[in-house]
């Protein structure tokens, strides 16, 4: 008889729902039954309503059970779950679960499946094929491949990754850097965290390819301090990669050298902005820099630097392994490839949904997400984090695409969707957007630093019905000033949630229903 294999996620969200307790219960049950089994700690598949979701290998397949509580483990063993036998928690083969079946996973293809710290597992599932190919290519050809894939920055700005790389590659300097932005601060997003905890080698591989392509030998990953589990897992993965010569001099048997260091953020949202992040990495206050000069010319410690989001870099191994065309064939318009959408907040089936660009917001929220967790009607969704617009149901036909969202005064940002039911007070959400901007502003430019505080006061006056019409006009003017006059996206985009709330939900700002158009 083969030794049973049990897969237990170690993703932070699975841990937050008791995955470690479940693992302990499994270990105890195995000991009591004197069964010798292997427990593999994986990342999460991203089906969070089923977490902790454990899996067993049966024949050549995997059978999932979830959500499993620690006190249900005994009953699972009694029911014969090691042989994939029926139980109320049995979900069948994970790939057959509709939420997973409808996805197209390029970047998250291994997440939740492999032992997150095993390079053997990583390679057995297609890992390091991209690097192998990159090593045999001229660096300029690697940049060209990434450019042709159409990959755009997944952090939110959507700037073509290949162009960033080319600019850095063409710069001449004694030292160049690859900086990975893992300061995933947007509420409703967790894709970066899942990759670092569930498939860290794909990020290491992507950064290594970037290093070879632009001639950088040193990489930094700036991980937010709110992610202790990602920091730990990624740190251990770096040690494994180094020990097996996938980092360091003559990596993977090539003439190239590249190594990566982790730096931990300190709770400042603005450090997700690339120039503030660079200042923070240099050991300073995370103040936004004026551009130009671009980081590609004058970045970390004044040297040419590629700053890319985790998901952008983690998409690179697929592009190199399968070719730019395989990636670019998916998507819509100028948004090529896949986007890991994160369904969050008050949603029935919350989790990670990777698919080609073009799925409508309504399909994501209603069909795939199943509506609200509370069972009440969906009233608003915020797409793209705290600086993203609130969309009403009337805009649910918007396809997930950079340009389509921009055309409707919104943004897809890092791909997070936060769902609210009909108990939400949109004036409070608008107030919060301004309050958050005030708390997190780096203080360098006036529209953001002072505008956000004045914004909170104006919203308060509107809600108290003081000179409503005049204050609404003032709020709009303030938002325009912040949008046009701020140095970075924090002050520049905070008007999106505020103005979308005012525009789409005027009744929450004291307007009488039906009269909004007359204002």
């Amino acid at each position: 008889m083969t030794r049973p294999r049990i897969f237990v996620p170690r993703d932070a969200a699975a841990l937050a729902l008791g995955a470690d307790d479940v693992e302990r219960a499994i270990v105890a049950a195995l000991r009591r039954r004197q069964i010798d089994a292997e427990i593999v700690r994986t990342g999460s598949r991203g089906l969070f309503w089923l977490e902790p979701m454990i899996e067993v290998a049966v024949g050549g397949e995997r059978i999932a059970y979830g959500p499993v509580a620690a006190d249900e483990v005994e009953a699972l063993f009694d029911a014969g779950f090691l042989d994939g036998k029926p139980h109320a928690r049995r979900r069948g083969q994970p790939d057959d679960i509709p939420f997973l079946k409808r996805q197209q996973r390029f970047t998250f293809v291994r997440c939740g499946i492999v032992d997150r710290l095993s390079l053997t597992d990583y390679r057995a599932h297609g890992g390091y094929k991209g690097l192998e190919r990159a090593i045999g290519m001229a660096p300029a050809a690697i940049v060209e491949e990434v450019t042709r894939s159409g990959l755009r920055g997944r952090g939110g700005a959507g700037f073509p990754t290949g162009i960033k790389w080319r600019t850095t590659a063409q710069a001449t300097a004694p030292q160049k850097y690859i900086v990975c932005n893992a300061d995933e601060g947007d509420s409703g997003t967790f894709a970066d965290r899942m990759i670092m905890e569930g498939d860290p080698f794909v990020l290491i591989e992507g950064m290594t390819v970037a290093g070879i392509a632009v001639g950088a030998t040193k990489g930094y990953v700036y991980i937010r301090s709110e992610y202790p589990h990602a920091i730990e897992t990624f740190g251990r993965a770096l040690a494994v990669a180094r020990a097996e010569h996938y980092l360091g001099p003559k990596l993977a048997g090539s003439a190239y050298e590249f190594d990566i260091e982790i730096r931990v953020g300190a709770g400042a949202y603005v450090c997700g902005e690339e120039t503030a992040l660079l200042d923070s990495l240099e050991g300073k206050r995370g103040m936004v820099r004026a551009k130009p000069p671009l980081p590609a010319h004058h970045g970390l410690f004044g040297q040419p630097t590629v700053v890319n989001n985790v998901i952008s870099l983690a998409s690179v191994p697929f592009i190199l392994a399968e070719g730019a065309k395989a990636y670019a064939d998916v998507g819509m318009g100028r948004s090529r490839g896949t986007i890991p959408v994160q369904l969050a907040g008050n949603i029935k089936y919350g989790g990670l949904f990777e698919a080609g660009f073009g799925v409508t917001l309504g399909a994501l929220v209603d069909d795939i997400g199943g509506g609200t967790a509370s069972g009440r009607p969906v009233r608003a969704v915020q797409v793209g984090g705290p600086l993203g617009a609130y969309f009403p149901r009337a805009l649910f036909d918007t396809p997930f695409d950079y340009e389509a969202f921009a055309a409707r005064d919104g943004l897809i940002g890092h791909g997070g969707i936060v769902v609210f039911d009909d108990t939400v007070d949109m004036a409070q959400q608008a107030r919060f957007a301004m309050e958050f901007c005030a708390i997190e502003s780096c203080g360098k430019c006036t529209p953001c630093r002072i505008g956000s505080t004045r914004g909170v006061e104006v919203v308060d006056r509107i809600v108290r019905n003081e000179n409503r019409a005049a204050n609404l006009a003032l709020l709009k003017e303030l938002c325009t000033t912040m949008k046009l006059g701020s140095l970075c996206a924090l002050g520049g985009f905070a008007p999106y949630p505020v103005m979308s709330a005012v525009t789409h939900f005027p009744e929450d700002f004291g307007a009488q229903p039906g009269l909004a158009a007359a204002e």
Partner: protein, 158 residues
């Protein structure tokens, strides 16, 4: 169990020396100091400035810029409640009000028994299992008032 060491400058100097060679060493040093002592002591600001050839004002500026760094000792445990939008959509505001009332503290304050400090956090990346919290470095999702009370009670037990 006391989680943090009491500030002493000899130990502080060791920690600073260990990290001072890093490029851009300020954040790694401040994190290491806070991990050991629970906060960044005023004397440490002077010492970090000397080690990194910065002015005291610059180091003070760094310490106060980042929400993570404290200038006063926290309680034995730190409870961070997420206040961001995904958690708001699942009742985080009410949960936070409940916690503040039960603990009789406001944000960034410590209970009178010195066991627990309450801090806000803007996103733990647990947005599909909101509302979320972190007690020291342990994470919790789908919290409700009852589960939060259990957490608090456990943390406050001597």
């Amino acid at each position: 169990m006391v989680r943090y060491e009491t500030w002493n400058d000899k130990r502080g100097a060791e920690i600073i020396a260990r990290h001072a060679q890093h490029a851009g060493a300020a954040l790694p040093i401040l994190h290491a100091l806070q991990e050991t002592f629970g906060y960044v002591h005023a004397d440490a600001v002077k010492m970090v400035a000397a080690a990194l050839n910065l002015s005291r004002a610059e180091v003070h500026g760094i310490v106060t810029f980042y929400h993570d760094f404290r200038s006063t000792p926290p309680g034995e445990h730190v409870l961070k409640l997420c206040r961001a939008e995904a958690c708001q959509s699942m009742g985080a505001d009410a949960l936070a009000a409940h916690a503040r009332e039960k603990l009789r503290v406001d944000w960034h304050e410590t209970t009178t028994d010195k066991r627990l400090t309450l801090e806000p956090v803007f996103c733990l990346g647990l947005c599909a299992c909101a509302p979320a919290a972190m007690l020291d470095s342990q994470v919790f999702g789908r919290l409700d008032a009852k589960r939060l009370e259990t957490l608090i009670d456990r943390a406050r037990q001597p």
